[in-house]
Structure formats: structure tokens, C-alpha cells
Symmetry: C2
Subunit: 457 residues, 2 copies
């Protein structure tokens, strides 16, 4: 066991040190991310168009590329105090096991019932819906982390929540469903007979297990056809990255408190909500020329939007009812393999991160599923925390980076985002424990085929 | 939302403020708890007899009624730093919702992968086994929290662990089983063909789902018949309460830091590991005449050892192979109803707590399952944390106490132990959500029948 030093195992900020404002990285980008585009008109979406679907305050945040700081309302700050600050953990035991001179830190977002960072944006979106006097909100959920987070936020604010849960998940993940129900949400297996689009799909494909694209379509339809409802989304959007900046701001404050300068910052990347939040203030420094960081996005080899996708306008949803976003994408018709990191199975990537990646402000790597679970198991045994499959992509990359330092002798400060826990992913761990896990890598032809179907803008 | 005051939502101790020694409440008891007795000889168990089953250092802790403080070895303190200090949370939101003048605090032990306080003793017991140069340890698990905690501790110390898991749980709780396997434990469905007692039971009752008593018998048999193995237990024993005193010591240090004097201290009680740990330093003050506290044990109405049991020598296990302990008991042949708080389904109670209860140093109440889940759901929605069914017994009692304060206008400081999370209890929550949960209250005749079978000592 390595001797304890002046840096504790866990750095907790005081309440008074918690961020008072979210940071909008777009304010420091010279070239801004491309705007959302109306697929009908081919023109940028207006505030009025977006407000039919989203809450008004959130639309303002979505469209504002210039305001650097958005004050966090008191009610949200008080909610944050119930589960934040999250600890920045020094991985002393992992360092010792690897025999690396590197110092490894991870920002752990799993210490709340939703089990992930998703709650940071869920409470913000629910708050603005409540503030607007809405009756309720609708959303879709696949793996269930976002739905759970939004259920917690809605219960707290006494806001009605309707969650369209992909039918196959609804049936195979009854525990996630029950958590949402315990918080008072109405969870509907999608496709359902509660919407036109759902009824149409059920008629066309009786017995289908549903898809995320279909669930989005139903959630949006419900919101726009019911007085007092709006639709909310847990990733990809600019507003979500804004709220998630609380992760990076806390991380930076904790490092600054102990005079630590990060060298490498690593995050898993699906739609970009965690990575965008974690790196925000560091990227800001980099864009302003104040500091340099090696920023790394880690994606699954099965769904490699950064590493094998193309930078173009595409639909955000497979149902093609949402606005077009310019992003690194595999094409909205790309069908990712059924890997267990459901939160990373997204064909595209946040427009902000896509633009930053295109500007070479960050790099990206992809890793295979079985390697990810090996890293996850090692981490669990050494550091105690059983990580989510999504988060474990960052663990794998951080371990590899620390092993490189072992070769070179560099004492780098490696910081990674541990987005959540794997308590609801034990089917995947069971498969891994039984040696029955496999890897999925799409062929060039598969990717070329879906990219060929990109919309013309 | 109540205005924030000087007391933060979560009080975290600094690493330097964490306890350096466990506190042994027996040292302050004038009348000591009764010793374990050898059922064969009728005489107190000697150290040599106990060392055949348990690790030597743990036997010393078990038998020592006089040493007030046991220094926590550095390796255990470092392990504690990975998931401790646990937060003492001020339940601002719950207070506001109840409209009570009381201040409610809870010590939350669920922020680790085992999901409960069990890890505090698991790492200690695994450490002493490692120190003794043993190859491995054996234990039994019912609901799986203890088995998970011990798996984490054993993986960390690279110690072999064999867990006999009650067969019906093994089959119905595959997720708990997979967590243990991920940490490298060998999990065996009990009864099994790996022991004589297991084979005998399988022959007699083919197709049985097993029982905790049978699993204990198998775990003990494996330990005593294999070179380099010992058996460990997660509750009831004096040594376990000693290790768990870390909960109470941290709680008291956090309260002292803000000048808060607890009035009422509430904990759920099964075998007594959590309650005994939480109250230890407060009870010490009470026994030394330095302060007074209203200390409350909350047990399920279905398994009411304090409130309807008798104080007598009894077997600790239904298999009747363990030593006799003097305790409040319903009789080791009492079959508790299948309630969902598996950790509270124990026929007896820790000898230390039993003696303190007999001395009227604390009081006990019992609550029914559906009321407990109502409190759990309310708590989850208001405070965010989805509690374990066991912990929710304390929540129910704390809410009732706070509502009494609302009537009387007293601004009491109520402190309760939130032992863990309910993420692996969603079958129970599902039953509750569907309105299909029922209560079980044993008849006087049932209890009289099992108490009539107590051993004669």
C-alpha cells in the first residue's frame, strides 16, 4: 500500500466552493458549432420553432453561443447539494498495482440513485419546465439511466413525467423500470398505442421490440400534442453540455485546490454529455491559450463516430423527426451492434465536440468491448467501485495511458471521468464472467452504406 | 426550499478527522454481555475452541470486554479512505416536506459497491485472515449484501473467498451473484455437494431451496476441514460491532464539528451490526453518565426479537452448530416470514445490544412492511436516495418521530442510520408499486412454540 501523501484519497469541495454558474465553452470558440437546421426549410432552426418542442429557457441556452457563464438557479444548486460535489478520487491503489509513476484521478459521478452524471442536466431541464408552468415533460430512454435521472428530478419538483422506454429494454430491464415507477413516472413500452407514430409502427411491425428512434418520435409527438408538455433530451444538445459543465468545473476546482495541473483528460463519448461537461473549463483554457491539455475521447469500436465517421449534417434520431445537426456521424441509419454500453450506442456526436474535434483541439480513440470489461473488472477489484460499461471505456484508456508513462517514466497527471456505476448491468458482467462476451466491429462497407444516406443540406 | 444555513447538506470529515481506533462499548458496560457458551460442555467458549473456526486476532477482539479502544491497522484505514468517511446528511428537504421543527440527520453508508455498511467489518475480518497467513475464508450469504462486501475485501487483499449462497437466492438474485463473481469469489448454491452436511441435506430433501442455517453449516464445515481456511460472519458477534463502531464515531465527530447534540438516535436492527456500530460512542457517553440519548432500535413486525422475544441462551444458527449466545431471541427454530428486508430476518440479536436493551439503555419498536415501503418511496422522492428495505425501517421511525415533534413543537435533533441502497431490491419495490405487498405478523402461538424449543443452559 502506497503511503498517503498530502493529497487525500478523495477530494471533496466545500459547499461554498461549488460552481455558482455553468460554463458555456461556445463563448470561447472562435469558430462556433454549426446551428441546428430545419430539415423542411434547410434554414437554421429559430427559437420559435424550437419552443414548440423544448422549454423556452432551454431554447435560449441552446442558441446562445456568446454568453460565457449562466448562473445556476438557487433551487438547482440546492438540489445539487443533495448529491454533489462528487468526489475527485486519487486512484492510489490502481497506481500501485500498475506500478506507474503517473498520478491517476477520476471524477466519480455514480454516487446518486440514477447511478450516473445524467442527473446534472435532468434537474436543470425539469426546473425550467416547472418554471415555465408546464404540467409535465416527456422523454425516451433506452438503457434507462437518463429516464431514471429525469424521474428523480421530476419527483422532486412534482412534475409529471412520461418516459417512452424501448420495449425490449422495458421487458429485459424490469429493475430500471421499477426505479422510475417508484419515483412516480409513467413508463410506457414503445412502440405503444398512445401515439399515432406508435400505432402505425405496431400495425406495420406487430411484435417489434422497438427502437430509440421510435421512442423519441413517440415522446416528441406526445409533447407537441398535449397542452402543457414539452420534450427533453439527455445528451447531444448544447444545453446539456452547458449543464454538465458542473462536472468539469468541480474537477478543476478540486485540482486547483491542491495545485495539480492535469496533463491528460479522458472521457467516454456517446452523445457527448459527459465528455463535453468534464472537459469544458479545460478546453476553455486551451482555446484562450492559457494552458494545454491532451484531451481524449474514448468510444466503442462498435460505434466509432469520431474515429470512423464523417463531419456532416445528419438527423439526430433514427426516426428523422428532429432537426438536423452538423456532427461526426456514422449516419442516422447506422445500426450499432448490441454492445452493453447502451449509453455509447449513438450514431452521432454532440455538435460542440464535433467542431472541437474537427479543429483538432482533442483526439479520439476506440476500444473493444472485452478489453473494456477486463479493465472494468480490474478497476472494481482494486478501487472497489463496480463501474458502468460506458465509464469503463475511459478506465481502459486511462490504464493504457498510465502504462505508457511506466515505459517513459513520465509522472503525468491523468484525469478521467467515471460517469457511473454498473449495478444495473450485471447481465453484461455475467456474460463476461462466463467468458461469453464478444466484440463487434462494423465493416467499412456498413459505415459507407449508412453515410451514403446522409441528408443533403 | 428551506434556506441553507451554516450546516451543509452533507457533512464530510477530513481524512485526518477519521477515527484511528474502533471503540469497544463493552469496556463501559458495568454488567458485561453474557459469554458465548459451548453447547457440548455448557461452559464459556475458550479462545482455543473459537480459533478452530475464527481468525486468532478476531477471537481476541471477540472475547475482550475491557479494552476501550482498538487501533485500526493502517491498511484497513487506507481501505476505509477509498469509500469513507461516509456523509452525515442533513435532510433539509425531508424536514421541509414534513413541516417539522425537528432537524433530521442521516449517516449514509450506501456509497460503495456492496451498497451497505457491511464493508466496514468485511475488510477488517479479511485483513486479519490475511495477516494470519491464511489462504482463504468462507462465509454464507442470504440476500447477498454481506457476501458482496466480503468479496470486495477479499479481492482487494487477494484472499480466496468461498460464499455459500442460499440456493433460492442464488437462483432468484443472479445479479448479486454476478457482482460477487466479478470480484473473483467462488459462489456455491447451498445446499451443495461440496460438504457432508450439504450432501446429507440434498439426500434428505432433494430439490430444497436451502436456508441460511444450512449455508452457515456448509461454510463452517468447509473452513474447519480445509487447511488454511477460517469462517467469518457479518453480524451478531462482538467483533463485528467493534468494527462497525466506525459508523458511530464518524457520526459523532461530524455532529461535534458543528456543535450539534443528538437527541434521538435511530437504527434498524436485524442481527445488530449497524445499530450497534451507529450508537456505540453515544451509548458509551450514556453509560459513563456524560450525556443522555433516546436510542431506538427498529425491527420488522414479522421478526420482532426485541419487542416480542425473550432474553435467553440460544443457537446463533438454525443448523445449531454454532456456539450458544445469550440474546433476545424468537428461538432458532422460528421461521420469519418472507419479507423483503432479508437483512432483518434473524431470529436473535447481538448479545451486546441484548444486554443493553435488558438494562433499559435503549428502546425498541417494530414496524410493518407496507408502512416501511411507503416511507422508503417518500424518502426516495424527496431526498433522492433509493433506500434498502432494511434501512427504510429507520426512515419510517425517523419520520414518525419528526411528526411527533411537529405536534409538540420540539426542535429535536434526530439522527438515523441509512445503512444502504435498494438497487438490488427492485423486485420488492415492483411489488409495492403494483400494490401487491402484504404484511406478516407472527401469532403469539408461533413465537411461543419456537421459544419453547430453546436449549437448556
Amino acid at each position: 500500500m502506497k503511503e498517503n501523501t498530502a493529497i487525500p484519497y478523495k477530494i471533496y469541495l466545500e459547499e461554498s466552493e461549488m460552481p455558482k454558474a455553468w460554463y458555456n465553452v461556445r463563448a470561447d470558440m472562435k469558430k462556433k458549432p454549426a446551428p441546428l437546421v430545419n430539415p423542411g426549410t434547410g434554414k437554421p432552426m429559430t427559437a420559435a420553432e424550437l419552443e414548440a418542442v423544448f422549454c423556452a429557457d432551454l431554447v435560449k441556452q441552446e442558441l446562445d453561443n456568446d454568453t460565457r457563464e449562466f448562473p445556476i438557479p438557487d433551487d438547482i444548486r440546492n438540489f445539487y447539494k443533495m448529491y454533489r460535489p462528487s468526489p475527485l478520487v486519487r486512484a492510489y491503489c490502481l497506481e500501485e498495482k500498475l506500478g506507474t509513476p503517473a498520478h491517476i484521478y477520476y471524477k466519480f459521478e455514480g454516487n446518486n440513485t440514477s447511478g450516473s452524471h445524467k442527473l446534472n442536466s435532468a434537474i436543470a431541464q425539469a426546473y425550467y419546465a416547472k418554471k415555465q408552468g408546464l404540467k409535465g415533460i416527456t422523454t425516451e430512454t433506452g438503457a434507462g439511466q437518463w429516464g431514471t435521472a429525469l424521474s428523480m428530478a421530476s419527483a422532486y419538483l412534482d412534475l409529471d413525467l412520461i418516459v417512452y422506454m424501448v420495449k425490449v429494454s422495458y421487458e429485459q430491464k424490469p429493475f430500471r423500470r421499477e426505479v422510475m415507477r417508484t419515483y412516480g413516472s409513467r413508463v410506457i413500452a414503445s412502440p405503444s398505442d398512445t401515439t399515432n407514430v406508435g400505432r402505425k409502427i405496431l400495425e406495420e411491425f406487430p411484435g417489434t421490440g422497438g427502437s430509440l428512434g421510435c421512442a423519441i418520435s413517440e415522446a416528441v409527438e406526445y409533447a407537441v400534442t398535449h397542452e402543457g408538455y414539452r420534450y427533453v433530451l439527455g445528451s447531444v444538445l448544447n444545453q446539456v453540455l452547458l449543464h454538465q459543465s458542473v462536472i468539469g468545473l468541480e474537477t478543476k476546482a478540486a485540482l486547483d485546490k491542491y495545485g495539480i495541473k492535469a496533463d491528460t483528460i479522458i472521457g467516454c463519448a456517446g452523445g457527448g454529455s459527459n465528455l463535453g461537461g468534464l472537459i469544458a473549463p479545460f478546453m476553455g483554457q486551451k482555446l484562450r491559450g492559457e494552458a494545454d491539455y491532451d484531451i481524449v475521447a474514448v468510444e466503442p469500436a462498435s460505434c466509432p463516430s469520431f474515429t470512423r465517421g464523417t463531419y456532416a449534417y445528419d438527423f439526430c434520431d433514427t426516426g428523422k423527426i428532429c432537426p438536423l445537426a452538423k456532427m461526426y456521424t456514422l449516419g442516422s441509419s447506422f445500426m450499432p451492434s448490441p454492445i452493453h454500453a447502451g449509453g455509447l450506442r449513438y450514431h452521432g456526436m454532440s455538435p460542440i465536440l464535433s467542431e472541437l474535434f474537427d479543429q483538432k483541439q482533442m483526439r479520439a480513440i476506440s476500444v473493444e468491448q472485452t478489453e473494456v470489461f477486463k479493465a472494468a473488472q480490474m478497476f472494481a477489484r482494486i478501487e472497489g467501485i463496480l463501474p458502468a460499461p460506458e465509464s469503463s471505456h475511459a478506465i481502459k484508456a486511462a490504464i493504457d495511458e498510465a502504462l505508457k508513462c511506466k515505459e517513459t517514466g513520465e509522472a503525468k497527471n491523468i484525469v478521467f471521468g467515471l460517469t457511473g456505476t454498473g449495478y444495473f448491468d450485471m447481465v453484461a458482467y455475467g456474460q463476461f464472467n462466463d467468458g461469453k462476451m464478444s466484440d463487434f466491429i462494423p465493416s467499412d462497407a456498413d459505415i459507407a452504406k449508412s453515410i451514403a444516406q446522409l441528408p443533403k443540406v
